[in-house]
Symmetry: C2
Subunit: 309 residues, 2 copies
């Protein structure tokens, strides 16, 4: 079982409108609702890849109940969310049918009480016993200490479970110092962590700060990886147009599935680049088309990169 | 008791964001949630004016349950909503803190089954027995016949209960033919009903089509009324800036409260203009400040209008 942690889960709502006009009133033509938060997305993609996934984190309130109802409908994903007194946040993504662009509104997360954070840590330690790998994904809700990911990484390492961290800002900085197996920052997160806007230099710098392997997601430019076994760049054959929501979560699912399947790094990166691109190209945010994925998988270019330093 | 009918109730969600930028991601700084739909707003304002109000219409699903939970917290409003299998829609209003402007997203309403529409009509007939006046407000959800308001107006008239209709399009057109006591169209609804963009002419034309009295809400220009007792224009002393959401519903509550209190038309119109303006000026959508209302009430100008025809 692969464990995914989403401390700031969300009920993701997608609205389609004919054309977004600020300060106007819009008739929503289609409403989609699904369980969300980055680690929940990772679990869903892992299940679609044929891996058993367990999703933990927090859920509460009416929105939390709806999220768990939806999660129960996803085959291959086990709900191990910890109940809280506050209400799970919503996100609203407004898709402009004319341009295909998305405008996103993210509610703040609920306040987590100290007893709830303790209950989560107990549950996490239990779940680690049956986990082959862990993904820690996304932002921290209010009340969770900023060093939370560092503690969860140390616990995973104590259990001998490889751990991937996908976050930003101070939670990422503190997490890196706890020596995670993999981090997957995007370009902005990597630059904020290292102070360098040059991805080749920055991925190597992030390794020096404590991450065993760094896989930076560079949007249309694909993935840049710095690992103990070498450095590679992976990119789809041509620029893919569509909705990038969830592409990073698909890359995380690909990297973790490749890790537990003991694939060599270039094969993991090919999978991650193909799955990301297939997610961008799919009509629904965070979905991917298996046929597109299989086709792209044979066409991704993974090339070795010389050291920058 | 004054009865308000909201066939297309909504769970109204308001998001504050620092600045709305299309195609960007926004952190929501404040989330407000309240029971909505135009007739529910009318009931809330009636209760604030000291009248007992009963809100009927449809509610269902998780959103309907949340709406009813919120409604239970409003003193003076009795919940007489009829349960349905579908889910009550949401509306999301995004307030730009920089400009104060609002961008609105309205989900489509749930499908109403024929048996649910029948159950509503039975409940409505029972409620009419205890009602001193009725407001029929807003759009019709899918499954409710377009002539619905015409039937509800005939039933009210058969019970001797005065009825106000606040809707648009074909439901308004058919409703007017059933001879409601008052209609309260806005400028667009009035123009669509009569084919005339000249409000003075259009209000008189709407009376000829069947409405006993017509009170057109003309935004910053105030209210224009054509009644069996005369014609008046009512406007606040100066242009009021703020959020116009709910201003029309406040005007409806003022007109109905004035009707059951047997106020003369000029006093009803002064109340409606003052309450509308106090609603625009209040920080929260659909709220009004009692102090602002009392102050404006003494300063609204109600002037007689000569016949246009």
């Amino acid at each position: 079982m692969i464990l995914t942690v989403t401390l700031n889960t969300a009920l993701d709502i997608t609205y389609r409108v004919r054309s977004l006009r600020p300060h106007a009133s819009h008739r929503v033509t289609q409403v989609l609702e699904r369980p969300g938060g980055k680690g929940v997305n990772v679990a869903r993609v892992l299940a679609a890849l044929g891996h058993e996934a367990t999703a933990t984190g927090f859920a509460g309130g009416t929105t939390g109940r709806v999220l768990r109802d939806h999660l129960a409908d996803v085959p291959g994903v086990t709900d191990a969310l910890v109940p809280i007194g506050g209400a799970t946040r919503r996100t609203v993504a407004v898709v402009d049918e004319r341009t295909g662009d998305t405008t996103q509104f993210n509610e703040p997360g609920p306040q987590i009480a100290p007893a709830e954070w303790s209950a989560f840590q107990d549950r996490y330690a239990q779940l680690l016993g049956g986990a082959s790998a862990v993904a820690l994904s996304g932002s921290l809700p209010p009340g969770v200490p900023v060093g939370a990911y560092a503690g969860l990484i140390r616990a995973a390492r104590a259990h001998g479970v490889p751990v991937l961290l996908d976050s930003g800002g101070e939670p990422l900085r503190r997490g890196v110092a706890a020596r995670p197996d993999i981090i997957k920052p995007n370009a902005d997160e990597l630059a904020e962590l290292t102070g360098s806007h040059e991805p080749s230099r920055a991925t190597q710098d992030a390794r020096r700060r404590g991450a065993h392997a760094v896989v930076a997601s560079l949007g249309p430019e694909g993935l840049l990886a710095a690992t103990p076994e070498g450095r590679w760049h992976a990119a789809p054959p041509a620029r893919v147009h569509g909705n990038p929501t969830g592409a990073g979560d698909s890359a995380v699912a690909a990297l973790l599935s490749g890790l537990v399947e003991r694939l060599p790094w270039p094969a993991r990166l090919a999978r991650a680049a193909a799955l990301s691109a297939a997610t961008v190209r799919a009509p629904g945010a965070g979905e991917f088309d298996p046929g597109t994925y299989e086709e792209l998988l044979t066409r991704v270019a993974v090339t070795g990169v010389a050291s920058a330093a």
